[in-house]
Symmetry: C2
Subunit: 168 residues, 2 copies
């Protein structure tokens, strides 16, 4: 976009314009691909997946690909400290289970997602879409928001190269 | 601060003002307390410390309290997957060792720290102060910057309640 140079009525220079601009950042514009394992996967498989994909959070889905739980690095570290064989424990035993999993939607603002990460003290959120079947609600997993996502958005904001802004 | 309302020459409305404001955010205004273990601590102790303090990164110091290494959750998870007794392995065996540890300083901008987190693919940075003894440089650990720090700064920015801004 062309830089607009000249006199403008700004009304309020106390930061409202910046805040408004930042508030327009949406989950759908920043989300990453989700990393998912099945409920029947072993804890060992989940740890290998976490290393291969280099993520802090893994989402667990049932056989209809609906969100059933979530695994953090802490959950996996805790399990690996135990005396059990990791190859014999399904992730469904150690995961945090629905409906206790915090989720977000593509239309949510990045601020709402970041607020959840901070206040719920979690590293990642699944981006989900609602599916209603026989009056029951399920969630399909379509993306991932993490503290890495927010850190990247922060950097792009400060550099002025985010999509809602325009910078030469 | 009082809101300044009226006509101002803005010069450039392409986001430069916001970016300038964000660029003034400094590490010293956002850092947390560092979580530290000694080189002779065991991997088991480090894992317990990580859970108790609920951090993703632990800094390792020598007997003069100088930074000698760093431990991530991934390092500890990798170690706990091994066959060795965690009570018998000192952290100095598995840590990433100086000078291969990324650091930052209190006067650095939060943007510089966030850039390091993203480009070096790490979760946390020690905030250090330089000490020169007999022509050798050492680093004392005085703080911690993590992706959680950056996510909190992002939230405070969007809410307009960061220290460099002023919002009613």
């Amino acid at each position: 976009a062309k830089p607009r140079v000249g006199y403008f009525y700004t009304g309020d220079r106390s930061g409202k314009a910046e805040a408004d601009r930042l508030k327009k950042m949406r989950v759908k514009d920043y989300q990453s691909l989700p990393v998912v394992v099945k409920e029947v996967s072993t804890v060992y498989d989940a740890i290998v997946t976490m290393f291969l994909e280099d993520v802090g959070t893994i989402f667990v889905v049932n056989d209809k690909d609906e969100l059933s739980g979530i695994l953090s690095r802490k959950d996996l570290l805790r399990a690996s400290m135990g005396k059990q064989e990791l190859e014999n424990i399904p992730v469904s035993i150690i995961m945090t289970r629905m409906p206790n999993v915090a989720v977000c939607f593509e239309e949510d603002t990045l601020l709402e997602a970041a607020n959840q990460l901070i206040h719920k003290q979690i590293d990642g959120l699944p981006v989900v879409e609602k599916r209603v079947e026989n009056d029951e609600t399920f969630y399909g997993v379509i993306g991932r928001i993490s503290k890495t996502t927010i850190t990247e958005a922060f950097v792009s904001l400060v550099n002025g190269d985010d999509e809602t802004g325009s910078q030469l």
